[in-house]
Every structure is written in C-alpha cells, then in structure tokens.
Amino acid sequence: MNHLTQEEIVMAYYGEPFAHLDGCEECRAELGRIAEVLDRVEAPDVPEPDAEYEARVWQRLSWRLRGEKKRARRTEWMRWGAVAAVVVIAFVAGLLWKRENRADAPQNIAHRETPSPNVPVSNTQQQRDRILLVVVNDHFDESERILVELSNLKPEEGLDIRPERDRAEALLASNRLYRRTAEGRGEESVATLLDDLEPVLLQIAHTPSQLSADELRAIQKRVEAKGLVLKLRVVRASVRAKSAVNYQQPNV
C-alpha cells in the first residue's frame, strides 16, 4: 500500500480529502501527530488599534499623498520641458536648414558636390552639427549620471529611485528624436549608442518607485552587459572633440 506523503498529510489536516486515510491506520496516526502540533498553534493576539486608528492612518497618508501629487506634477512639467526643448531645437534646425537651402544656389551646389578635404564645411552646416552635438552631449552626460548612480546602488529591498525614474522618463522622449536625427545625419556611433540607451531608459522609466533588490540587479546587469557607461564616456569624448573642431573651423 502506498502511504500518503508528509505533504499530503499536512494538506489533509487543512481539509484536502484523501480516501486513503479511511483505510490506513498508519497515515491516520501521522495525521494525529501533525494535528497535535498544529492545533496548538493559535493565531497570535493582534493588539487591537484604538478607535482613532483609521483617522490616524488617513492623516499620515494624506500628507504623503500630497507629496505624491506634487511629484507627479513636477514629472509632468519635466516631460513638457523636454518636449518644449525638442520643439525649440527642431525649430532652430529648421531655420538653419531653410537658410542653407536659400544659400544653395545652383552655382554653389556644384561646388559642394565636389568637396575637397581642404575646404571647410559651410557655416550653417557647422552650426547645425554643433547644435546636435551639444544637445546630444548634454543628453549623454545626464544619462551617464543616472546609470552610474543606479550602478553604484547596493541592491536591497524598497529602494526609492523616483528621482532617477523621473529623469529617465524625461530623457526617453528626446532620446528617440536625437537617434532619428543622428541616423539622418550619418552620425553612426551616436545613433548606435542612442539605440542601445533607449531600452535601458525605458526599463528605468517603467520601474516602480520602490525597487526590489532583484529589479535593481536586473537593471545593473543590463547596463553592465552592454558596457553602457564606458560607451557613453567614449562617445561623449568623441562628440566633445568633434564639437570643438566644428567650433574652431573658420567660417567660409
């Protein structure tokens, strides 16, 4: 005869039916021994909170909810700020583009189609490149700071990463725009890095504000696996160098 397992006997104690018990004295005896222990385990007395308990809970909570709302409003402003910055950049880039197109008379196009390494790029082209490089450099700088902060955190339960989460959320919208612009301008290394950065920013932006140790470890692992901090430093150095060269080149 196959007797019940210990686990089945525990479940029998909690009411799971086992026909085997009817005909097996040995299993019934074991059930009795388990019952002898579990019957004595009574729910610990819970100290009953006083009559004002609910009011106190609400008072403390409403104060925290006010903070929560303020933070939500600030995040909303940050998001709109990022959108406004993107619109301004797009507008300035559009103006420069228009001005360059006007300057691109047919006689100039012929000249531009046969560039010589000794001939500096046009002034407006430089200005556009500089704008892109400056904003992307700032974007990388801020992203690097967030990633370094999160990489240096010690994984433990209930970490509050709301500031980093809000900043990542604000960076996410501009990241997409910069990536598309960089792709269009043939800035391959910048576009690739922005492409690598996007899912990580997305992951951070969608984390709960109270992070578990496992969630933090997952983010740290992802940042480390992609070598993102190092890549950011390398590309930032190259972007800074390019930006300086563009700035120093003489105007035509």
């Binding site: 210990q6 525990v10 909690y14 385990v41 610990p44 819970v46 009011a55 504000s209 140790a213």
Partner: protein, 187 residues
C-alpha cells in the same frame, strides 16, 4: 446607501480623494491585522498599512474590478510585508539567542518545569521567524486566516502545488521547533 468599494474606486479615479479616505477607513484595520500576523510587529504593521494604501493609490489605474478591492489590497499588503521581512532579515541576520528554543530546552532540567503556555508561544514566534517570507505568509494565510490555497498562490505569484509545498516546509519547521513540547517531529 453606503457606496460599494467599486463605486469609491471609480470616484478616486475621477479625482475624488475623499472617496479614497473612505476606502482607507474601511480597510485599514483588517490590513493591519494581516500585516501584524506576517510581520509580528505593530510598528511594522503600521508601516505596511501606509505603504499598501500608497501603492494602491498609485496603481488604481491597473485595478481590475473583477477582483474584490479587499483581495487586491490584501495582496499588496502581503507583498509589502514580504518586502519588509526581507529587508529586516538582512539586517538581523541571526535570530536572537533568547528566541532560540534549543537553548531554552537545554537550560531547563526538566520539561515538567517548563511553563508550557508562554514557552510554546515563544517557540512558535521563533519558528515563524525562522521561516522564509513566502513560508510564513503562506502558513499565516492558510492556518490563521483560512484562505484557500489558490488565493494564497495568487498572492504569492506561485502555483497551487508550489503553495502546498511552501506550507509543508513551514509546517516542518514548526514541528521541529515544537518537538520538545509535543514529542513528535517531522519524519
């Protein structure tokens, strides 16, 4: 007529904070009791109540009206309690020596001299402390609250068989701890 939980949730979603106050007043006491049974500490249970309602407020948009608000809120409370236990466990890596039953038993020359009631409670408390967060929660919800296995599994995010196994592990630890009092240990 008193508004149902669902009606209150809808009002909170529409920006009515007073409706949220009503939900807090309606459920904070029972959430406190569950949290206390899992954390065994009044201050911790208070913190769990706060954190539970804060998380609930933030996630109301994801609340599915098919589940009762009570179950949903208790699920959050259990998760908050488990988070808290995990962080406490890391801090207090060792169970206090005074809670250790083997020490108590060896110090007492004769079991007859043991004041059984008080010692049993201490032994049970020590056994609960020794359990993992999942084990303690599964045991508390099944043994003290009489919650069905499926519901416990839902709260812990594990399947019913895994829930059974978790409860079994908890019971085994409990039997080992209480063995000097009952004379029966898990085999």
């Amino acid at each position: 007529m008193e508004a149902t939980d669902f009606e209150l949730v809808e009002r909170v979603r529409g920006g009515d904070d007073d409706a949220f106050r009503l939900l807090v007043e309606r459920h904070s006491r029972s959430i406190y009791r569950t949290a206390y049974r899992i954390t065994s500490n009044a201050a911790d249970a208070d913190d769990v109540v706060q954190e539970t309602f804060l998380r609930a407020y933030r996630s109301l948009s994801t609340y599915d009206a098919r589940a009762s608000f009570t179950t949903w809120a208790h699920r959050i409370a259990v998760n908050c309690s488990l988070d808290l236990i995990d962080s406490r466990k890391r801090r207090d890596a060792k169970i206090e020596a005074t809670d250790d039953l083997s020490e108590i038993a060896s110090n007492e020359a004769s079991p007859e001299r043991v004041v059984l009631g008080g010692q049993m409670q201490r032994a049970i408390a020590a056994a609960l402390k020794q359990m993992s967060g999942n084990e303690r929660t599964a045991f508390v919800l099944r043994h003290f609250e009489g919650m069905p296995l499926e519901e416990i599994g839902n709260i812990l995010g594990i399947k019913t068989n895994a829930t059974k196994n978790t409860i079994f592990r908890a019971v085994t630890k409990l039997r080992e701890r209480l063995q000097p009092f009952t004379g029966s240990a898990s085999s």
